[in-house]
């Protein structure tokens, strides 16, 4: 059996039953393959879940970039477009999202589940790319040393949005949309040229004067 079929079968089971199959053997058997064959594709059920998340992210990026308006978007809008597209995909898979995110939440609230590891790694690369672009257009302020930490800030933002989506009870998850707009605006206010840079500039100026005088 192809892994492309194995994954939808597993996700289908998960959504229908609200939990993973008891054993890999039982699942493989129901698919008409041996347990050994299953392990040739995936080490565990968790591996399938991780891959599903990675694909959500890739699909969101690809879909957002297909939008003709994408070419005209600045960094902020590109990130917004990614989030909205991702949320659209997640909405269609909400049962799966709730199952995978809540399961880990039960153990320790608001701790980011391992199932997102690879998904988050790819998100960081995407953010890096978007920020790099933003620096070349001046949308994002160039701040050596400091900017290395940006990826982490945006990762936190992604996690915040996911948790917000999980807990959102508004119709059509409209409140999540609003949360995305707010969070992204805040983050770009922070990484854009702002008071902080002016203060830094001023400080530098004073120091220079001091050393000259």
């Amino acid at each position: 059996m192809e892994p492309t079929l194995l994954k939808p079968a597993y996700l289908d089971y998960l959504r229908r039953h609200g939990h993973a199959p008891r054993t890999v053997f039982a699942f493989a058997d129901a698919q008409g393959i041996t347990e050994g064959e299953f392990y040739r594709h995936y080490a565990s059920f968790a591996a399938i879940e991780r891959e599903a998340w990675v694909e959500f992210g890739r699909e969101a990026r690809a879909q957002a970039a297909q939008e003709p308006a994408w070419q005209g978007y600045g960094s902020r809008e590109k990130l917004l477009a990614f989030y909205y597209t991702l949320l659209e995909i997640l909405k269609n898979n909400r049962s799966f999202v709730l199952l995978t995110l809540k399961r880990s939440q039960q153990r320790r609230l608001a701790v980011v589940p391992k199932v997102l590891d690879q998904f988050e790694a790819e998100f960081k690369d995407f953010v890096e790319e978007v920020l790099h672009e933003g620096r070349s257009t001046g949308e994002v302020a160039s701040r050596p040393f400091l900017q290395d930490g940006y990826k982490r800030i945006f990762l936190r933002q992604l996690q915040f949005i996911l948790l917000f989506f999980v807990r959102d009870a508004s119709a059509g998850f409209e409140r999540t949309d609003a949360a995305v707009e707010k969070a992204v605006t805040l983050s770009f206010d922070l990484v854009g040229r702002n008071t902080f840079d002016s203060a830094l500039d001023f400080g530098r100026f004073l120091l220079q004067r001091h050393s000259v005088g």
């Binding site: 957002a64 939008e67 003709p68 308006a69 005209g72 978007y73 902020r76 809008e77 917004l80 477009a81 989030y83 909205y84 659209e88 508004s170 119709a171 059509g172 409209e174 409140r175 949309d177 609003a178 707009e181 707010k182 992204v184 605006t185 805040l186």
Partner: protein, 436 residues
């Protein structure tokens, strides 16, 4: 206010309340300054104070967009209810709301149709051409046709009730209004606002009014496209023309102004008398003016349509009838019937009500008592506002402030004052007799 597209739409109640609190403080500070100046004998005009407060309040409200802004605009329409300084500030609102970010517009389309605007239309301008109070208008093209696509802000419908609950105390305290004055009004506003968030309803009403009023001369209604519309997206023809201020800036000749004014007048008369249904938002932003055929009015936005019950319609028309004003007994009967006068009122109170209402009717009904009326004379509208101010200042009346008469009159009144102020701005001479 910056020209930057606005991405943050403060929707949580806490965030909005925080903004209000800030305004409360600043306005409070303005009052402190006012009284401090007074204490040292300096001259501080009450008008200055209103002006400062209005700007402050407007600054805050415009940041909130959504229905709060709409409520502010509606209050502005009811100039009788507001000191002039507030009314002026709030009227700017329609031209100044900043747009939403492009990706959110795309998302609204994907939510509604499963496709992005670029897939649906041959051309779609991602930058909004106009801001509407609960949405924004984009230009699009399909099959060679120029279209106006209205996109609603997300979450507006859900927040109306809490918005109104928050506007209420602010309106009461800062604008110096009384709770009884405001209550029926806010209830009406809330009902209309909730309707207004339903673009499907607006679409069917727009189609209906266009079908019924299409025969009236010099009016133009857009065609609506149901297949390209949803509860939050409304697609219609892009009508030619300019908004009032731009149009008037080019000094159109008097004949054109008259024809435009006449078209508006006939439109409202027909609605009230024949349809018993009013486009109850005669707000400059809802009309487009052009020189086509010597002056044509494009009618937009059927979000706020008011059904007038037969009883109220009859009462309202009888009150405007010239014969009523000439006959005090008839006026008294009518007012008793409408619930404005009550059998339990003392003779003194009754006399006071009759006197004030006669005065208002004389003024409000004046255009109806002449064959033609020249709205070009701003003195008329001024005295209309002055009357409102006087009524608010009247000690005797203030003590008696309790809701009297039908709440429907709120909208009728608003509609007519709005219409009169449009006509005054146009400076139109209008034939006001109604030929059925």
């Amino acid at each position: 206010m910056s020209d930057q597209p606005q991405e943050s739409l403060p929707t949580s109640k806490v965030a909005r309340a925080a903004r209000f609190a800030k305004t409360g403080l600043k306005v409070g500070a303005n009052y402190v300054q006012h009284y401090a100046k007074k204490a040292v004998g300096a001259d501080s005009e009450m008008a200055d104070l209103h002006q400062a407060n209005a700007e402050e309040l407007y600054g805050t409200l415009s940041k909130m967009k959504g229905s709060v802004l709409k409520v502010a605009q509606m209050l502005a329409m009811e100039k009788n209810l507001l000191p002039p300084a507030y009314a002026k500030q709030f009227q700017q609102a329609q031209y100044q709301t900043p747009p939403l970010s492009g990706p959110l517009v795309v998302k609204a389309f994907r939510d509604a149709f499963g496709h992005s605007p670029s897939e649906i239309f041959e051309e779609f301008d991602p930058n909004a051409r106009q801001a509407a109070s609960i949405g924004q208008v984009h230009f699009a093209r399909k099959m060679g046709k120029a279209l106006a696509v209205k996109v609603q802000y997300p979450g507006v419908g859900a927040s109306i009730r809490s918005d109104i609950a928050m506007v209420k105390p602010v309106a009461l305290r800062i604008m110096g209004l009384r709770e009884e004055t405001l209550r029926p009004y806010l209830a009406e506003v809330e009902a209309r606002l909730i309707e207004e968030t339903d673009y499907k309803l607006e679409l069917s009403r727009g189609q209906a009014v266009a079908a019924k009023c299409g025969h009236l001369p010099h009016l133009q209604f857009p065609t609506y496209y149901p297949a390209l519309s949803s509860a939050r997206i409304l697609t219609m023809d892009w009508l030619p023309g300019q908004h009032m201020q731009e149009f008037l800036a080019e000094n159109p000749p008097q004949e054109v102004r008259n024809q435009l004014g006449q078209a508006l007048w006939d439109f409202y008369q027909y609605q009230l008398r024949e349809l018993r249904q009013l486009h109850a938002d005669p707000h400059p932003g809802n009309f487009l003016f052009s020189h086509t055929d010597g002056g044509t009015v494009g009618v937009l936005d059927f979000g706020c349509v008011k059904d007038v019950p037969p009883l109220e319609q009859r009462q309202f028309l009888s009150l405007l009838d010239p014969a009523t004003l000439a006959d005090p007994a008839r006026l008294e009967t009518l007012l008793t019937e409408a619930g404005v006068l009550r059998p339990t009122d003392s003779p003194a109170l009754r006399g006071m009500y009759l006197r004030t209402l006669r005065q208002s009717l004389e003024l409000v009904g004046r255009p109806f008592r002449q064959d033609t009326f020249d709205f070009g004379d701003p003195a008329y509208l001024k005295s209309l506002y002055a009357l409102g101010d006087d009524l608010m200042q009247d000690q005797e009346l203030r003590q008696q402030r309790e809701p009297r008469g039908s709440a429907h009159f709120v909208y009728l009144n608003r509609t007519y004052v709005g219409l009169f102020s449009l006509l005054t701005e146009l400076g139109a001479v209008v034939r006001t007799t109604y030929a059925a």
